[in-house]
Amino acid sequence: MDHSKLSKWYALPFLCVLALLTVISLIIPLRPTVSYGELRDLETFPAFSVDALLSGDYFDGITLWFSDTFPGREGWIDVSQSMATLYGHSEIAFSGTLSDTPVQPSLQETPLPDPSGDAPVSLPEETAASEETQPTSSAESVPGETQTAETEFVPPEIELEDIFIGQAIQIGDTGYNQLKISPIMSDKYAKTLSGFADRMAEKGVRVISAPAPTSIGVMVDPAYLQQLNCSPQDEMLDYMHNQMSDNVIKVDTVRKLMAHKDEYIFYRTDHHWSALGAYYAYQAVCEAAGMEAVALEDMTYWNQGEMIGSIYGKVPYPRKLKRDELECWVPQGNITMYRSDREFGEFPMIRDVSNQKPEGKYCAFLAADAPIVHIVNEDLPDGPNCLIFKDSFGNCFTPYFSQNYHNVYAIDYRKYWDTSMASFVEKYDIDDVIIAPYMIATQDTNAGSWFQNHFR
């Protein structure tokens, strides 16, 4: 065909669209600054310097800024994601290949201190802790309480983000994190808890093991788990619990949640369980510990709207994920919560995030990973006291215990480094210690070191 005979007017629509998008892209106010879908701030226009200019970094920065903040970004990505779903047909999707090793490949090489020893774990001195991991004074942490001197903990240099949460896997409209058992870490975890429970038993303190399962171990068919290089979490939990001392009250949180797997017990865009999932775990603890669980109906239901969590953006087709809702059940009574996080004061157990952006709404619970919180229920003045040893999974789990205890102390083991749990129990007259890290942490070398440090 002789192309020179083609009318140039055919090119007009292309030129018009090109011109229109060029003009739009030059209108700076139309450029977004935050990606809600990816949960990140978008690139900013680079600062000028002669060095950056000569090295090409300045121009690279402009190129990156231009594409990263392109007007209508979310809509374009929606189209792009829709196209990506046409690449093939598979319910399961993941980026890269699935690791066939346990949580941390180097776990066999990581020496752990003697759990019975009193010395804190030796950690490199030259590494500064992050601001969030700085030791928190217990005097600040718990109002009205006094501290006794004891050996100080050395906070680890590990950033919270370093904690392995497993590779993201997408099955249909739900995202999961891969988890494979590490027998070595399971053994060490069981040994650590057993040693602590035996010592606590001598003081009449009950130790309750109630790890928080992750969604893949509860919601996904066991036949699939093998193919996904994941371990069945009911078997993982059995393996750990079978090795624990008789002084540990073992709670089968996994099977308890499995019994409710047709309910909304795990988020689809986030690695946490939902408040409902946490409630069933709370029920299981109560059953194992001989307490009466508060009924859901006796709490106030609060739906705080759409939520997007941590897995979103890590799976290949995030737009296929079904959006989550932040459901809460607010315990009733004369309850006050105090938090410590450099400043202390009253703080709601479940705060209002209904008007916030959907990402990160999980922070509504328990002051969002504060090193320590103290919940007081004045309606139970003669009630027992408990210590909950938890991570972020414990944030929506802890509030329910305000219905059973006068004082509930919740310690985030990733951030609290003031005192050992044994000392804490003694100081605050704790009756029950509920140990509820999430399942992946029990298999993690970093967390394993922390547990030994805390339960020394």
């Binding site: 030129l15 000569l54 990505i77």
Partner: protein, 486 residues
């Protein structure tokens, strides 16, 4: 800057078109616009190396002028000067590490030498200019700025095709008025853009998944981990990875050529085709007639034939072919695996010249399987600069590492990408071209049908491809043009 970046699409490109259009009727002004935009385009990626480009263009301009004035062997002297200077610079920037590595540890300062973008392409272009002038195949260009424009023209400066001076001399600098083919150019540009963003990029991501990413491969410390990954990859997983890589490398590179040719046409410049559906070939010889044509013809006309070509003693013909394939391999990268890759094809070319060629003519299917196997295994050599990793990956293709035949990851990745692979495969075949030609001949001279066909072909499809490509580019972090490294 790359063509498939949003800044190029909605910043550089429309403004260059606008500026060029405003100078309509004044070719000198249009060339000035092209030169300014080309230098900005090049400087955007490598600000300091724009001086190197200018210096090399100056060398070519000067030597060509001297060559033109010189008589007899004097011409050869100036060609020799130009070749020495430019190849020395290419050697310094591209091959210094490789050469130093032969004699021992590579010094730090050598390791720090960065490869200027597109140096392999514009060095060869400038060499063809000087040689063509010496041969009398091209006229001397009096203006240095015109030689610089020829070398720096942003359509082809950094990733080809290698445009010979004589190909565009008349159109770029001649007195005749250019005749832009705006519609055809737009159509070709959009096809290239879509090939890159909608097909090549996801194929590349799949290849990375199955055969490790460049980032993973760059970490020498992770060698054992990478080796374990590749030796453990299933047979089908390895084939899936290398097929995806083969599709990616063709679609990526040909897309760039499509865009360059398209932009050239918009301005009335006609660059020669660089690809002609290479994967439909039946022999390696045919493959290389269809793959990166501008490079193949460069080596044929400026190395192979001057050495004597095939019209000489058999051993000399083999030597000449051997040299060409060593150079072809090394042109693609300063690493021994590229040399091995060139020699891989040399071996099969030699075999085809003898008995294998006759055997392949007997079966169409077997010859296609043969060609694809040779090319895909070749891509495995090409992909891994560490030859040990490449060999491990090749062994995995045939199950020689004790690796499983297939596994869950392979199945899922195949299912997740099967329609993409199908579409990418179709894009490697002349199917779309045949449909277009058939449709055009059907509606030819049929009034409204012809108009409707042209509207769909030249109005609707380009706009649709532009919009879909934009969607693909927004937030797409996976967007490197792989031929930049050359």
């Amino acid at each position: 800057m790359v063509f498939s970046s949003l800044l190029f699409l909605y910043g550089f490109f429309p403004f260059s078109l606008l500026a060029y259009g405003l100078c309509r009727g004044n070719q000198r002004a249009q060339n000035t616009v092209l030169l300014i935009f080309s230098l900005i385009f090049y400087a955007w990626g490598e600000p300091k190396y724009v001086l190197l480009l200018m210096a090399m263009a100056f060398t070519a301009w000067l030597c060509a002028r001297q060559t033109d004035k010189a008589q007899g062997s004097g011409k050869k002297v100036w060609v020799g000067v130009a070749s020495t200077v430019m190849l020395a610079l290419l050697g310094h920037f591209k091959y210094a590490s490789l050469i130093c590595g032969i004699f021992g540890p590579v010094p730090q300062w050598v390791q720090r030498i960065a490869l200027p973008i597109g140096i392999s392409f514009y060095t060869f272009q400038l060499l063809t200019y000087v040689v063509d002038v010496a041969r009398g195949d091209a006229q001397t260009q009096e203006s240095y700025w015109n030689v610089l424009l020829y070398a720096a023209l942003f359509h082809q400066c950094i990733a080809g095709p290698i445009v010979r001076y004589q190909t565009i001399d008349r159109e770029l600098f001649g007195p005749e008025k250019r005749s832009p083919e705006l519609t055809a150019g737009v159509s070709r540009f959009c096809c290239g853009l879509a090939k890159k963003t909608l097909l090549a990029n996801p194929c590349g991501a799949l290849a990375d998944t199955m055969l490790l990413t460049d980032t993973a491969l760059a970490g020498g410390a992770a060698f054992e981990e990478n080796l374990a990954f590749l030796t453990g990859q299933s047979v089908l997983g390895s084939w899936l990875g290398i097929i995806a890589y083969g599709l990616h490398i063709y679609l990526d590179f040909s897309a760039y050529s499509d865009m360059a040719i398209g932009m050239g046409r918009m301005l009335g410049l006609h660059y020669l085709e660089n690809f002609n559906y290479p994967y439909i070939s039946r022999t390696v010889t045919e493959f290389w007639r269809r793959w990166h044509i501008s490079l193949g013809t460069f080596f044929r006309d400026y190395v192979y034939i001057p050495l004597g070509g095939s019209r000489c003693a058999p051993w000399k013909a083999i030597r000449n072919t051997f040299i060409v394939w060593c150079l072809t391999g090394l042109w693609h990268g300063a690493s021994w695996n590229f040399l091995l890759w060139g020699l891989w094809f040399f071996v099969f070319l030699m075999l085809e010249r003898w008995e294998l060629g006759k055997l392949l003519k007997k079966s169409r299917i077997l010859s296609h399987i043969y060609l694809l196997t040779v090319v895909l295994v070749g891509w495995m050599i090409f992909r891994f600069t560490d030859i040990r990793l490449g060999l491990a990956a090749i062994r995995s293709l045939f199950g020689l590492n004790g690796n499983p035949f297939t596994d869950f990851t392979t199945r899922i990745q195949f299912q997740s990408h099967m329609f993409l692979l199908l579409a990418a495969t179709v894009a490697c075949l002349p199917a779309a071209k045949l449909v277009k030609e058939r449709g055009t001949s059907l509606v030819c001279h049929r009034g409204p049908w012809e108009k409707a066909w042209n509207v769909v072909l030249y109005c609707v499809i380009p706009v649709l491809l532009l919009l879909l490509s934009t969607a693909g580019l927004v937030g797409d972090s996976y967007n490197p043009f792989i031929y930049f490294r050359f």
